[in-house]
Symmetry: C2
Subunit: 305 residues, 2 copies
């Protein structure tokens, strides 16, 4: 899978993914109003608004980028109608040729992680046949439970040609509370990085592994260090833009050939129309504002190479 | 919420929860066959089998126990039909007066955790009205992202009278890979325990906090230590039975009044009919085998006090 992502990054010249994390407050009123009229001011109506919003943005940006990252929590909060739209969004993006990274941060004891891996990456066996549920191409995984919580996801990578990104150093302000604590002289996140490389060796795809790492853009010096010690691990880098990470910071996530990371922007792309710098588009043309934000983000990242 | 759980534990004399983690292999053939005939050998059929299986077990055990713990991964693997049955199971258990602990192990950056907290414990705001999605009473939470990943769940505990159990020391074999590593002379899980107490202080309900801890039955010496250092933290203890934890081990999770923990058994209860010791019930009476397994588990745990 990781080679497929690399190929698409090379084709587009855009090592980025668009975070499809739609909050209702990001959705223009004309979309919400129509959805509520059709399906009520209910979870069904909210989910419909999310779907129309996503679809318009995907239609406007799919040719510019290799991948998208829907954050499942933003759908899960609306229950079944929300998760139905999550699934629909995954499929629609895949039809457009986009690689879909499900930001689910799942992780549990072995048999339970196997169920998550089946639901998000692989398939379940029912009456001797295989059925896929969410069918994302890659998914984020939480490492707190150790190898037996991650291994089922690695197995799914091998069996179904998929990929994962394991949380190593997250982008949020309190990520250091546990992740930065020193164990035998090096931070916990580096110990997690060691394991990610061990797991990664079990699912290589050319020079890169299908087992990647989440490394927040908000901690640039840590990106450099992790890039050096994890030469075969692809990074998913959240935190660009709204959370404070700059293109100069991000450069550290790439190798000398400009490969090695995919940078996520969520709010900066999908809620671009609400920013002063894109106000000329207006609420009606929110998807075109997103397209312009993607073009600007690509230019910004390319400028540092 | 935690006082409600304690009250129900006192009423039943049973500090246990039944883990509703249905694998298809646990479900008797007559249930699966009927469900497949009605809805096909499909995710819909599998989900229907899970629902009929759950319902029969709940009907057979609800009067004996205070709580159940559905593992959401076992439903999520079947996609939307599976999650629909998860929701239906939650509601049905609540109608029977059971406290439902959703084993979801969610956790993310602040705004995303807020969405998970809304979906699983609280409510979302749509057009000025509140809607609940899964509506579980308590939920398990992963602490790897630190305070800003957990705080939204604590806020939901306060706003909606709910509870959470944060992963401190999990029951699986590889839990020690990160959790046991020493930081300033004490293991990571104790540092997590310190934070759990800090978060817990923000949501007290009498002498106990609504912010509990997951502490695996498979590591008895660690249970003792954590019980001593966390006097106001209720424990959710997985790993009894199938995973190897004994009643004698579990005693350490309780305070001198026999309060302080709820012990989970999943396979040992819901798949009891497949064990030699309950084979007299036969597949037809699987739910009665589960009832007997619950009675035996209560007796086993009470015997050590």
């Amino acid at each position: 899978m990781i080679q497929k992502l690399i190929r698409k990054i090379r084709e587009t010249g855009a090592p980025i993914c668009a975070g499809l994390d739609p909050m209702l407050s990001y959705i223009p009123e004309h979309i919400t109003k129509k959805a509520f009229e059709e399906k009520g001011a209910t979870p069904e109506g909210a989910a419909e608004a999310v779907w129309q919003f996503n679809k318009a943005i995907i239609d406007a940006v799919w040719d510019l980028i290799p991948s998208v990252k829907p954050q499942i929590a933003m759908y899960e909060q609306f229950g079944i109608p929300g998760l139905t739209v999550y699934e629909k969004t995954v499929r629609y993006c895949q039809e457009k040729g986009l690689i879909v990274i499900g930001d689910a941060k799942r992780g549990d004891i072995g048999s339970t992680s196997a169920a998550y891996a089946a639901g998000h990456l692989g398939a379940v066996q029912i009456g001797g046949k295989e059925f896929t549920a969410f069918g994302t191409d890659m998914v984020t995984v939480n490492p707190y439970l150790g190898t037996d919580g991650v291994k089922p996801f690695v197995d799914a990578c091998n069996q179904y040609d998929k990929g994962i990104f394991v949380l190593v150093k997250t982008s949020n302000p309190s990520s250091g509370e546990f992740q930065d604590r020193l164990i035998d002289g090096k931070p916990l996140y580096e110990h997690v990085a060691d394991k990610v490389m061990e797991w990664g060796a079990m699912s290589m795809d050319g020079e890169w592994s299908n087992v990647g790492a989440v490394v927040g853009a908000t901690y640039p010096e840590m990106i450099s260090r992790l890039r050096n010690i994890m030469p075969h691990t692809f990074f998913l880098v959240p935190g660009y833009g709204a959370q404070g990470g700059t293109a100069e910071d991000l450069k550290r996530a790439f190798d000398k050939d400009g490969i090695g990371a995919v940078v996520n922007s969520s709010r900066g792309i999908i809620a671009a129309w609400k920013k002063d710098s894109y106000s000329q588009f207006g609420a009606e043309n929110f998807a075109q504002a997103s397209r312009q934000a993607v073009i600007d983000m690509i230019k910004d990242i390319q400028s540092v190479f």
